[in-house]
Structure formats: C-alpha cells, structure tokens
Amino acid sequence: MAAPGRHVGHYIQRNGRFLLCNIEQVLGHRSFGWTPAVRQQAAEVNQELPESIVIPKKKTWSKEAVLEALSSTVGRDPTACPYMFQDDPFLTPRTSTEFRMFALSQESGRDAAKFFINSNPKFFTKDFAEPHIPCLMPKTVSLVLEEVSEEALKERINLRKVSAAVDMYDQLLQAGTAVSMETTHGLLDLICFYCDKDPAEEEEPQREDTDSDEPKPKGRIHRASDFIKLTWKENNNAERIFNLLPERDTRCYSALIRGMVKYRAPAKAYSMYTDMLNNRVTGDVHIFNTLISSVVHLRVNYEARWELVTELLYQMNQQKIRPNILTFNSVLQTLRRCGPIGKSLSLQTVSEMKALGIAPSLATYEHILCLFHKPVAQKQYGADILQEIVSELEGTSLTCQDPNDVLFFATAMRVCVDTKELELGYKVHSLTEFGENYKLQGVPYQRSTYYGRFFNLLCMMEHVDAVLKWYRRLIPSLFYPNVQGMMDLLQCLDTDNRLDLLPDIWKDIKTVGHENKSEVVEEVLQLMAREKHSPEVQESFATCALDVKNEFEVKRLLQWSNLSLSNVTIVLLRANKTQMAWEMLELFKSYNRVPSKEVLDAFLTVCHSDGTPQKAVELVQAAAALCLLQTPTLATRTLAEFDLTEEQRAILTELEAAGEPSD
C-alpha cells in the first residue's frame, strides 16, 4: 500500500523537477532564487554525473564603497568655505595664519579630549552605542599586568613604554626566564625606534592616522625637535640587550641598524652591518634601504659615495634580497648629493627599476627633476623631463608609496615657473585634480607652495581674464595667497590694463589679511594714482582710497609714507573730492611728510577748474609753510592763471620772491 503511493509521489516529484527545468530554460535569463530542496535534487542528479557544484566564494564589500560613490558626486564649490570650517562660521579663517590656528586648535582639542578620556577611563564607562563602537571607549594606556612574565613584557611593548619594557626584560633575565625571539624583536624595535627614551607623554604614540591634516606640522615639529635632542648613545639598552642575546638574527640586526641610522650614528650602523656579514647573517631590505640613505654621511667624496651605493646594491643581489621602491628612491636621493655624476646615473637607476618591474613613485620623479633642473643653468632639461613624466602619469590615480611623494607637485610647478611653461603647468595641475591625487599635495604648507607657484605662473604667462578665472577658483577656497602672489596679480592687472578691477582686488586683499603689508598697499595706491581713468572708475578708486586711508588712520596698521599720502590725495582730487583732498593736505603737515610737485600741481588745476582762487592762495601758503622748493613755481603759476584780488597777489608775489633766494 505504501509502496505504490511512494512511486506515484516519486513520479510527480520527477515531473516537478522536469517542469522546473523547463521553466528555467524558458526564463533562463531570470535569476531564480533556488531553494535548498531543488539544490539538493540538482546535487543528486549531479552525483550521477561526474560534475560537482562549485559554491561561489563570498563577496566582500568595502565598508566605504557606498559612501565613496556618494562622495564622488559632490563637486567643489569655490565660493563656499571649506567643509572643515562650516561648523564655526564665526571662526572661519580668512588668512593662512588663522587657518593654521584654527586647524591646530581643532586638533589639539581632539587630542586633549582623547588624553582626558584615556587617562580617566573610570568616568567613561557608559556605553551608549548599540552595537558597540570600541574606538569611542577609553583605551587602556596604563599597565595592567604587574607580575614578572613575558605577557607583561609584551603589554609594555604594545603600550610603548620603553623603560618599563627594558626593566621587565632585565627582571625576566635575572629570574632566568627565557624570552621568546618574537618578543625580543618587538623589544629591540621599540628601543631602537624611540632611541631608548620613552616617547613624549603629550605626543600620542598611536596617533590617529586619519586625523585631519593639521596635526602634521605640529607633529613634525615635535618629532624634528626630538630627533635633534636624541642621538644614539654608546652602549644604550638596545646594544646591551643585543649583546646579551645568545643568537642574533636578521630582525635584531635590522632593528639596531635602523635605529642607529635614524639617530644619526651611520658609522656605527655600517660597522654593525659588517659585523652582521661576518656572522653570516643575511640582511633584509630595510637594512639596505637605511644604509643607502646614510651613505651621504659615510663618504664625503662623490665617487666614493656612489661606489658604496653600488657595493650595497651588489650585496643585496648576492643575498637574494629584492629591492623595493624605497631602495631606489634612497639611491636617487643619494645621487642628488653626488654632484655632476648624478644625472646620468639617475637615469640608469630608473631603467634598473623598470627592469625589475618596480613602478617609479612620485618621489622618484621628484628626485630626477631636482637632479636635472637647475634654475640658473643655460640649458633646461627639467621641462623636457617633466613633460615626459606628465605624459606618463596623465590620467592615473596616484598612491603615496614614499613620504617624499608629496614633494613632487610643488617641485614640478617650480620647474614650470622657472621655465615659464604654461601648458606644462596646466597639465601638472590637471594631474592633481584627477581622482584622489589631490591628497598627494601634502601638508598645507606644501599645498600652498604649490598653489602659490601655479598662480605665479598664471599671472606671468596667462591673459588677465584667465588669471581672474583661476583667481576666483583658487582663492580663498584652496589657498590663501601670500604677498608675492598679490603683487603678481596686481602686476598682471597692470600689464593687461584692467586697473578698473583694483577696488575689488583691494577688498580681497583685506579679506586675506594683507591690508597691513605696506608693499601691497603702496602698490595698489601707486597703480590707482598713476593714470587718469573714466569718471566712474575714478569714483570707485576714490572710495577705495578712502578705505585705504581708513586703514592708516583708524586701524593704524601702517605708517603713512610720502608716496602713499600723495597717491591718495591725487586719487581724491581726480574724483573731485576736493574737501577730502584738503584734509589729506592737513595730514601731510601732521605727519611731517612732503607732498610731491604733482600733488600740488593737481591741486592748482582743481582750484582753477573750480574757480576758487582763495584756495589756490592757501595752497601756496601751505606749500611755503612746508618749505617746499616748488613754492615759487606754484606762486608764479597761480599769479599767471588765476583771477586774483590785490591782496592775494601781494601775498603770492611775496612768496614767489621768498622762494627765489633759496633756489
């Protein structure tokens, strides 16, 4: 009874499968969600056939993929303030100094908070996030394990407590406990990296990589000063522990050599290296990289330097160590200090890299550019080489492989400026705008150097309209121009005869905080006063000049000079602001400055056109009071041109006569 039922069921089941197959064929392009039962049946079928199901591998998705796609849809708005400042409109920086201050304080605030949280974990036990976010909780920065054990040593190494780790190691040795090789490596690395000193308390050893760029200058300065203070001491803990080791392998030597080179004991490092060779231990790529970078300090002679570099490279090859990009970059860096032999050898080095299948990084190109580009040289190879580099790099997304990579763009732009290659400059700039390449422009200082040079090139070579277009795009959203940049722009306006834009530029100058730089202000005034313009332009110039006067008078940021006073007066006179011009004349007196002949002439002309002889006489009297040499000439001119009363004539004649003896 049961058997036939099962047969029927089986039959139907088979048919069902057949039906499914048919449907699947008909609708083959639809991806059906197979359910396990069908899978199983399929597997059963396949068991009869030799095939087997290959289960596809799980796909892993990047956490940021969606965000990156979204982010790529957001363009840059040159009129908006940078994103990082949008939270504080009141504090939005306007100058590079303010920018620096803002960024540094933002970062130091973050560091302070982190320090406080980490040093007082007991106040931060509440976990609000669900699911848990580990990095928001305080990190353990204090030592937990107290007993003498290898675990405790590891903990000290992980927390980068150099002296505590050394103490623990000594205690372990005294207790007769053997420390594993791995832990010893960690310990030696730690001691050598920090040169046997605890890393400074305020400088977080595990700095957040992704903190905004601002801590960098700070971090750098701190570290630079640390380097200056610290030098490799004879028989420090690293050497002591190293000498106590029963056997020394490559990692131990590597740590010591790198530490010695880092803390400026290259000769010691080199002798350590020879010691390593004598002990028949092979090196690693880091040892050679550091040694090559220290060659400059080991040899004085250019040829000797190169000899040592080639010797090291040959030894690398003998020991079957594959060089990496850093090896060749340090070779090129050494070649930069090898005098005239550097040029040809650098090209050979690059060919060697390519033969080994190592793609040059930006730092490689930067070294080559520096080798070939000499601003004063007669023949310019730099531009040709840059041309080649740019055509090779065009349209590629660059990644940073060497800390020196970030120097490339600034150097490339310098080459463009020196050789006045505008087209090349544009190409370099479009390379920075491609993809995420802008990240390789480096820290803010390097970035502003780059943009400063680019803007300089534009002002020098480009038409004023194009310059102004770039000006609006770059300033102030990307960088804050320095005084030189502003002077370049003013010169460019002058060259292309667009002085009518000066009032606008003056506003920008005030925005970027150069209104207290006398050379910029003088230049603006000079340009405004030099020629006559249409009445509307003169009117706007006069407003601008009054604004400048305000800077001098009210804010007292600058000292009046003869020239600036004269220029302001002339601009005001041309705009028929006689009353204000008279006030300016008063200023000459109060600041003991001497008005130029042009100013006085301009005054007389205005008086003449206004038909106010009394003013003209007063002017001559004022000139006489200032003991000007031009007084007699002025008096003569007044006498000749104006319709004067007897009394005025008498005064003028007297002044004219008074001037003559002094002539």
């Binding site: 099962r6 029927v8 499914l20 969600g33 396990p36 940021e64 800390p403």
Partner: protein
C-alpha cells in the same frame, strides 16, 4: 490536482514555493494514505482561520494573486483552471504536470472515494499553507509543518503528546527568530513589504491579466540587476585602489606581523597624504575608517558580524545535517526535510542555532527510536 496545477502557476511566479511543494509531495501521498479520520478535519479548521488571516496580512503579493485565482478555479471547476493555465503560458510543462496529477487524483479517488471532496479541500488548503510558508513567519506555525509534525507524531503511540512536543520545539524556534528579527531589521522589512504591497495592489485582478504582471515583474527584475551591476562596477574600482594600497602598507610581505617600523612608516605615509575632508561623505568615510561610525549598509548583512565568516551555503544546504541520526525515509524524514527547508530560508538564525535546532530533533527522535521502529515496521 488543483494543488499541483496551482503550483505550476506558482512556479512561474515564485520558484521557491514550488520547490517547497515538491519536497512536500511524497509526504502528501503518504499522509493521504495513512489518513486518520479526525486529523485532516482539525487541520482544515486551523487552515481555514490561518488562510483568512494570511490573505489579509500577506506580505508577498506575488504569490497571493495566483492563490486567489486558484481558489476561484477550484470553485468553478477544472475547465476554468485549465483556461487559466493556458493564459499563464506554461502549456509546455502543464501537460506533463497534468498527467502526473491525474494519476494522483485517480489514485486518491480509488483509494478513498468517500473522502474525495475532503481530500480536495485539504489539497487546496495545502496550497494555502505553501503560500503561507513563503510569507514571513507569523505567530502561528506553518500548517504544512504542523501537518508533517502530526504525521510524524502519528507513528508514535501517544500521538497527541508527541505532536505537541514537536510543535513546541518549532514554536520555540519561531520565537527566537522573531526576537532576532525584531532586533534590528523588522522596520526595514516592514517598509520593504509595504512598498511591495503598494506596488502590486493596483494590478490585483484575479484574471488572465496576470500574464502582464508577470512581464512587469520580469522587467522590474532586470532593472534591479542593472543597479546591482552598477554597484559591482563601483566595487571593482574600489578593489583596484585596495590592491595598490596593500602594496604600500605591507612592504615586508615575508613578515607575518607588521613591525613597529612598518606601522610607523604607514602612519607617516597616511599623515603626509591626509587631507581635510572636502564634504560630508568624506568625513563619514573617515569616521568609518576610524571605526567611529557604524558602517554604511553596503549589503544585507549589516550587523551580522558573527555570521560574517559563514558562507551562504552553510545556511542554505542543511540537508547534510540529516545524513546521520535520521531515517532516510518515512514521516520523520519528511518532517525533518520540512524543518530544514524552513530553516534554510530563515535569515534570522545563526548557523549554530540552526544546527542546534536540528540536533534537538535528532536527540528527540533517537530517544523515541524504539517506538518508531515498532510503528515503522508495517510502513516498511
């Protein structure tokens, strides 16, 4: 027969349902054979109520429509249903199906001529159960499972108690599922379900026009695929970057653990290239990298960290766990297959929980082995 015909309709709509059904089938026959007088009645009563509920709260309208069509068909007769089938454009296969079902029907009518109408009804209700199984778990158990459980329990002497024990275990699993489901994704699920219902609602006409909706579905599907394809492209680009970055950060590939020097070098590089975020998304990327933010849900596995290392096939192909400890045929096997089929489609349990669930049944049936042997003696 109706069940099967409507199932073919279903297959065109939703392959998972038919699959479910096809694994249910052999058991159906056995059940029909070993039919107890009271059991189906109980089942039907329960089915009737659940069906009523289901048609109201159904979250998978794709299945819902043919269900109604099938009910109509059942009422007006076989001819009506055939017409419908023709309209569904599955003639090629429906012929063969029809043969199969005819045989079955014949068989049923021969064996139980008196309970034919009853069987018909029960088959209809079985279909309802099948559709129900495709819908997300509700508070009641799938009637199919209940039926299978009772079939398995029927082989034991104290069938009522055994059935309740089995059902309790199933309900427990359901409770766990519900709890884990509610944890995070219930809202999202609701939203999606709502969207689907709204979209389908206007087209809901139980007639031959279902062909059109079918085509619509297809188009919708390809559109979906287009979007995924786009994402794949994004992903591929990302991969390219990743490959390059790895090149930087592990300069010493021969070393398993990065040394302090490597870490500091990588640190240095990232500090040098680090730029302030230029927009909100970049800031969010930065936070994600720092771990300050929950990751943006790039797939449907957000929040399933513990399952991240488990491949999908471990979730889906659970039959291998039935290889040992269970009989290879019979009602127990059938019941377990249903359990496994349900588990394989349950996204809210971890693989460990699924295995535990299966092993509970393994223990249970092993404890009852003696009784089973006695009961199975005449079956084999």
């Amino acid at each position: 027969m109706y069940r099967f015909l409507s199932r073919t309709v279903c297959a065109a709509r939703n392959s998972s349902v038919i699959v479910y059904e096809s694994c249910v089938l052999p058991a159906k026959c056995e059940k029909a054979m070993a039919k107890q007088t009271e059991e189906p009645v109980v089942l039907m009563a329960e089915d009737g109520s659940t069906t009523q509920q289901q048609t109201d709260v159904k979250t998978e309208p794709v299945v819902e429509k043919p269900t109604e069509a099938a009910i109509d068909a059942a009422k007006s007769g076989k001819q009506h249903l055939l017409d419908l089938l023709v309209a569904m454009k599955v003639e090629v296969t429906s012929k063969k199906k029809f043969k199969g079902t005819t045989i079955k029907q014949n068989y049923e009518s021969i064996k139980h001529p008196e309970s034919k109408s009853e069987a018909m009804e029960s088959t209809i209700s079985m279909f309802q159960k099948a559709t129900e199984a495709a819908s997300p778990p509700s508070e009641t158990l799938e009637p199919d499972l209940v039926a299978a459980a009772s079939a398995a329990a029927a082989t034991l002497p104290d069938s009522n108690r055994a059935q309740s024990v089995l059902l309790r275990q199933l309900r427990e699993r359901k409770a766990i599922t519900e709890a884990q489901k509610k944890g995070d994704m219930s809202k999202l699920g609701e939203i999606i379900a709502d969207m689907k219902v709204g979209r389908q609602y206007s087209r809901q006409k139980p007639s031959a026009s279902s062909q059109i909706t079918f085509d619509d579905d297809e188009r919708g599907y390809t559109r979906d695929r287009g979007i995924t394809g786009e994402l794949v492209g994004v992903r591929r680009r990302r991969n390219f970057f990743l490959a390059k970055r790895l090149n930087i950060f592990s300069p010493t590939t021969e070393d398993d653990a990065p040394t302090l020097w490597d870490m500091e070098f990588a640190n240095n590089l990232s500090q040098v290239t680090n730029q302030a975020p230029r927009n909100g998304f970049e800031e969010m990327i930065q936070w994600t990298k720092e771990g300050k933010m929950w990751q943006y849900p790039v797939d449907n596995e957000a929040g399933l960290e513990e399952e991240a290392s488990v491949s999908f096939h471990e979730h889906i192909f659970l039959e291998k766990h039935l290889e040992e400890g269970f009989p290879h045929q019979g009602p127990v096997r059938h019941f377990m297959e249903l359990v496994v089929a349900g588990l394989s489609r349950n996204p809210y349990l971890t693989v460990q929980q699924k295995k535990g669930h299966i092993s509970w049944f393994r223990d249970y049936f092993q404890q009852k082995e003696e009784v089973l042997k006695e009961a199975n003696a005449d079956l084999n």
